[in-house]
């Protein structure tokens, strides 16, 4: 059991409001990732959930019980800190056993649970070592082990992989997903890295400046970003965003005029829009192609990145990035004409909100 529900949760430090009335639900057993740029309040939100920060407004419920005033230790949660926060003067075993000793668990039960966690995390050879004698990845596992032995209702991870090097991070990512599959416990994971969010999450909560921008499955966020921010934040390299004006409204879609580049057809619905209204047109680099006879955008090549299996070119003026399969012969100062497929174009209105597309119910 470990479902979580936030209702209009807010947090202020003095006059500064850090979290603005946030509401969402996290189902039992899911892997939820809070993602957002640094300073968006995702860590604060996590600390409020686990009880290390007080709640200024709203209600936090765990398994349907209001926990606003329940102390951190009684919420049945376990947290893995960014710095791991291992007790440096205790051995790995003592680190993992400390939480159990505090609730007067019998010694044989402690030994059993720690042994089990150590086996699961391949920490058995290191139980008698001090944390300083471990590598970064091992310390990370000890921190996770310390959370596991307490058999919490929900695991909370605060940017746990950010102190590891890139290679180890990919490995730990897979281990965490595997761990979640085995434990089937609710996990909430905070990161600023959208790749981590995309690869690990069942549900992503995108946060910006203390507000929830969108909640959804990774591919929903990728395919149907609710606004310009999510569109730009999810996906790598980021979506190309071009400013234009509504040119014509058709039942099949809205045409948009991009200054200096002509008119582009989209599959956006005509509702809500008026001719002449400023809009933002978004298209991902991987959806742009070189072949096509309409929706063509021309520009000089301002930069080429050859990755071997993939190539990226950047067009001058429009600053559009294009992902090409394989290797490209295009070079600096060549002129490229690229096709923006109408059904792959996202359209955002003047407020930055996504305009629904024809034939898509989202």
């Amino acid at each position: 059991m470990g479902s979580l529900s936030l209702r209009d949760v807010a947090k202020s430090f003095g006059d500064v409001k850090i979290i603005h009335e946030v509401s969402f639900d996290i189902p039992d057993g899911g892997f939820t990732v809070f993602v957002g740029p640094s300073g968006c309040g995702k860590s604060t939100l996590l600390r409020m959930i686990c009880g290390l920060e007080t709640v200024s407004g709203g209600v936090i419920e765990i398994d349907g019980t209001r926990v606003n005033d329940v102390p951190a230790a009684r919420r049945g949660l376990a947290m893995v800190f960014q710095s791991y926060a291992l007790y440096p003067h205790m051995t790995v075993f003592e680190n993992m056993a400390f939480g159990l000793e505090n609730i007067a668990t019998p010694a044989d039960e402690i030994a059993r649970r720690v042994g089990e966690a150590a086996r699961m995390l391949k920490l058995e050879p290191y139980l008698q070592r001090k944390p300083t004698a471990l590598s970064g990845g091992q310390r990370q596992r000890v921190a996770i082990g310390r959370a596991i032995v307490r058999e919490p209702r929900i695991f909370l991870f605060d940017e746990p992989l950010s102190n590891l090097d890139a290679e180890l991070r990919v490995g730990m990512r897979a281990e965490l997903i595997d761990l979640h599959r085995r434990l089937r416990t609710t996990m909430i994971y905070v990161t600023h890295d959208q790749v981590e969010a995309m690869t690990m999450a069942d549900t992503i909560v995108v946060l910006r400046a203390g507000r929830v921008e969108q909640v959804g499955a990774p591919l929903d966020l990728y395919n149907h970003p609710a606004n310009v921010f999510v569109a730009g934040f999810i996906g790598s390299p980021r979506m190309n965003l071009l400013s234009g004006k509504v040119h014509r409204l058709d039942d099949a879609g809205v045409s948009v005029e991009l200054p200096g580049h002509g008119v582009f057809t989209t599959t956006a619905r005509r509702t809500r829009l008026q001719v002449g209204e400023p809009v933002t047109l978004g298209v991902r680099p991987e959806h742009i192609r070189l072949d096509g006879d309409h929706n063509m955008l021309a520009g000089g090549v301002a930069g080429v990145e050859q990755l071997g299996g993939l190539s990226y070119i950047r067009l001058a003026e429009s600053e559009v990035t294009v992902q090409l399969p394989g290797q490209t012969k295009l070079g600096f100062a060549d002129t490229a004409r690229v096709h923006l497929p109408a059904d792959m174009i996202h359209l955002f209105d003047a407020d930055g909100l996504a305009v629904p597309r024809v034939g898509v119910t989202a």
């Binding site: 290390l52 007790y87 400390f98 505090n102």
Partner: protein, 346 residues
């Protein structure tokens, strides 16, 4: 060690700066260690050996010999006259004459002028200065008083100061800074000013002539709180939050997490506290007036009588007084450097 002592500026030979540095350091050693060495050697001299002029560095004592029928007699070396070169034992002095006997033939009395003989001296450590402390004086009581006060006051100081430092460094509460500043401000009041009010309080509470009268006023030290607070500020908050998530009570966080991690700072404060309490003089002298409750410094002071001072015992006692502080310092010294080093890195 040898290489360290012979280290030069790095040109492979002795620069004038090396000479200057070594000369300065040797001077420092003499100034620092000289008096202690002098004290140590002097504490092994007999009462008469201390009064010899010119003073000797090593503990010499006039040799004596057992002479049949005459008991223990002092031995003299004859420098002139018929017996020049002989070692004779003096029976008695008569005016400017001395009556001596040859230890081998004690029956014949020999008369010699005083200036034709010099005392025969030999090296002998007067350990009885030390054993006398235990036999002739209530030294063990003074030692116990000092040890008790020092140990109890140091333990209480560490406990109370670390609790205050924990609160001041890790809890956010209204008035935290003012409380801290107020505590530091008391450092500016000289102890002599609060001597009388403190005594009145101690007297009202009935603490005079009790070791607790020395212990209680000493356990709360602003220096100690400051030292520990500054160190605890460097402990990451996440550790305490992790412990809180681990169901640890605030007391357990303090006892199991904060205290062990503050060990280097606690060692420093322990040394300070031991030195303060062990050497403290003015306050114990005010509070403790009965000799059976005296600490070692007070007992030392009492040795200097109005008319006579038994220097040999005084010096031996001073020497014994120095030992515990030195031992504690040597034992905890590693922690001090470690504490300073780790505070510098993190």
């Amino acid at each position: 060690m040898g290489r360290f002592l012979a280290a030069t500026r790095g040109f492979g030979r002795w620069d004038w700066t090396d000479w200057a540095a070594h000369a300065y350091l040797v001077l420092g050693v003499l100034v620092m260690l000289g008096p202690v060495l002098w004290l140590g050697l002097s504490s092994l001299k007999s009462e008469s050996g201390l009064l010899v002029f010119p003073p000797t560095l090593l503990p010499y004592e006039q040799a004596s010999v057992a002479v049949e029928g005459r008991g223990n007699l002092k031995l003299f070396h004859v420098t002139a006259g018929e017996y020049a070169g002989h070692d004779l034992a003096e029976v008695r002095r008569l005016g400017l004459q001395s009556q001596l006997v040859d230890p081998a033939a004690p029956a014949t009395l020999i008369r010699l002028p005083l200036d034709s003989r010099v005392p025969v001296t030999r090296l002998r450590a007067a350990w009885e200065n030390y054993s006398g402390l235990f036999e002739q004086f209530d030294f063990l009581r003074y030692l116990w008083n000092s040890v008790f006060i020092t140990a109890v006051a140091t333990i209480l100081t560490l406990l109370l100061n670390s609790m205050a430092a924990f609160a001041l460094s890790k809890y956010r509460f209204a008035g935290r800074e003012p409380v801290f500043l107020l505590m530091l401000a008391t450092l500016m009041i000289p102890p002599t000013i609060v001597l009388v009010p403190n005594y009145l309080i101690a007297a009202t509470l009935g603490l005079t002539n009790s070791p607790w009268g020395v212990i209680w006023p000493a356990v709360a030290t602003p220096t100690g709180v400051f030292l520990l607070r500054q160190y605890m500020l460097t402990l990451p908050d996440e550790l305490i939050e992790a412990a809180r998530m681990d169901n640890a009570s605030e007391w357990r966080i303090y006892w199991r997490i904060v205290l062990p991690l503050s060990a280097p700072a606690l060692a420093v404060l322990a040394i300070f506290s031991v030195m303060w309490r062990w050497n403290e003089f003015l306050w114990p002298m005010v509070v403790l007036s009965r000799s059976e409750s005296f600490t070692l410094p007070l007992a030392l002071n009492a040795f200097q009588g109005e008319l006579t001072t038994q220097w040999n015992f005084l010096l031996a006692m001073t020497m014994v007084t120095l030992i515990p502080v030195t031992v504690i310092f040597l034992a905890l010294q590693r922690h001090i450097t470690q504490g300073i080093a780790s505070a510098g890195v993190k």
